[in-house]
């Protein structure tokens, strides 16, 4: 019960903090003071208080988009174990539901973008799904590898399992690299996409949500941070299978790890330039090849 409460609390409260940490890290690299750590919370609260403006050409799909996205992401978050604690919802095959819930969020985001009828947002939607075609195999291969390694089909079983296979070392390294790339790509971070830019040539995710305003935009921003939180937690579980033994310390370790990942993302964004759009598929394919390769190693 306590695990369940802590799980929900973390899922609800922590995500925007990660965004804050990333921004702060980038500011530190740039020699600026930067916005406070809790700025994303203020932004989201401010947006929630505002009134939404909807274009006359849009339909209910446009309004449903942000809500469905947020709901699906939250649902997915209930299936993912945080640290070494089992997830609130867990059953055999929940990894498929997890992956498809994430796909559902993408589906509705792009649908909402298309609903505006703007060619600009349509372009963003096209890019988003193109790149999704390349990241999703990477994620799937990684999940299959983990399932095979642990012999479990639920995320809790897969991720809290400490492996003793001969290939654990190599596979962990491979999946770490692959999932970090997926983490950056799925959450529209540099070098794949720049969440701050508004240049039409380069935008992917930001362009899709341009027409949203007020609470809808708040949902979207919160949903985006939640998605980042999810992928970071997934990454954490694979890259750091250390257990302290004590439940309390495990939670602390998890929180510290998540903040560490946020810093790592910030550092990556600071030291790397944005890739040219034509090079993005190459990186994504690399991630796919890495996780496919780890799958070959494990299935051999």
């Amino acid at each position: 019960m306590i695990t369940f409460i802590i799980h929900c609390l973390l899922v609800i409260v922590m995500p925007p903090l990660l965004l804050g940490v990333i921004t702060k890290t980038k500011a530190e690299f740039g020699g600026r003071k930067g916005a406070p750590y809790f700025q994303p919370y203020y932004d989201i609260l401010k947006l929630l208080k505002k009134e939404a403006v909807y274009s006359k050409t849009t339909t209910w799909v446009f309004k449903a988009g942000p809500v469905v996205t947020l709901a699906a992401t939250f649902l997915a978050s209930l299936m993912l174990p945080l640290g070494n604690h089992s997830a609130p919802v867990s059953f055999a095959g929940d990894m498929l539901l997890f992956a498809y819930l994430l796909a559902l969020t993408r589906f509705f985001t792009t649908l909402a973008a298309l609903d505006t009828g703007s060619s600009f947002e349509g372009m963003g939607a096209a890019r988003e799904v193109t790149f999704a075609c390349l990241t999703e195999p990477a994620l799937f291969f990684a999940l299959v590898t983990l399932a095979k390694m642990s012999g479990s089909l639920s995320l809790t079983g897969m991720l809290t399992y400490s492996s003793s296979s001969a290939w654990a070392g190599a596979v962990t390294v491979l999946l770490t690299v692959a999932l970090f790339i997926v983490l950056l790509a799925e959450n529209c971070r540099i070098p794949f996409d720049d969440p701050n830019t508004h240049l039409e040539l380069t935008m992917i995710h930001e362009v899709m949500v341009l027409d949203h305003s007020g609470p809808a935009l708040g949902y979207i921003q919160y949903g985006a941070s939640l998605k980042l939180f999810l992928f970071a937690a997934l990454f954490y579980n694979i890259a750091m299978p250390i257990q302290t033994g004590s439940v309390f310390f495990d939670w602390l370790l998890f929180i510290a790890g998540m903040l560490g990942i946020a810093v790592a993302v910030g550092v990556t964004e600071s030291v790397m330039a944005r890739l040219r759009l034509t090079q993005v598929p190459l990186m994504l394919i690399t991630a796919t090849v890495f996780s496919a390769f780890s799958m070959i190693l494990i299935f051999r």
Partner: protein, 221 residues
Amino acid sequence: MELVQMPKNLFVADQLLVVVLLINFVMLGSNRLMFCIRAAATQGVILGILPGILHPFSFHITLITVLILVGKGIVIPGMIGKAVRDVQIKREFEPFLGYIPALILGAIMTAAAFVFAEKLPLSPEHENLLFVPASFSTLVAGFLILTTRRKAISQVIGYLVLENGIFIFGLLLSETMPVLVEAGMLLDLLVGVFVMAIVINHISREFSSTDTSRLRTLKEE
């Protein structure tokens, strides 16, 4: 996969071979020549360490290790690197087959190599090891680089990777391969790359480019 208790040295060797395989992918996906050369050199260094890990210490093995480390790790990359600097090119442009198809093809070939290696009648102590699949997929990766790139230097790198693939297979036999022959093979590779580097230099002077698809004068009328 059940846990097979394998000797420590074979375990380490297998992990190193995973790195070798990853380097293949990296090279298939990269167009920066210096980067590819360094990657090939890293591969060479790993191949140099492997005999030392696999076999008990002996003069023979030490000599081979030193020869390979110096040859594949330092001299050959040095020679190609010099050729790259001399002809002043940095990147491969417009390969015959794009990087993404090449990468995917490489991945498929690697998978095929794993499946194929399962079917081969290996001697019992070599089963479940990565040597044979790693050898085949490195070979194929080298061949892919060799045949799909335009720049002469990329082709030489492909040739090197191909040789590395053959060498990995040779590791299964390195205890019985006489050092003289082993050294001879390495020397031939060395001289071969040296000659190729010189030829590249002359090609760039003659054609103002190292694009081998310009070498089209000689053909049947």
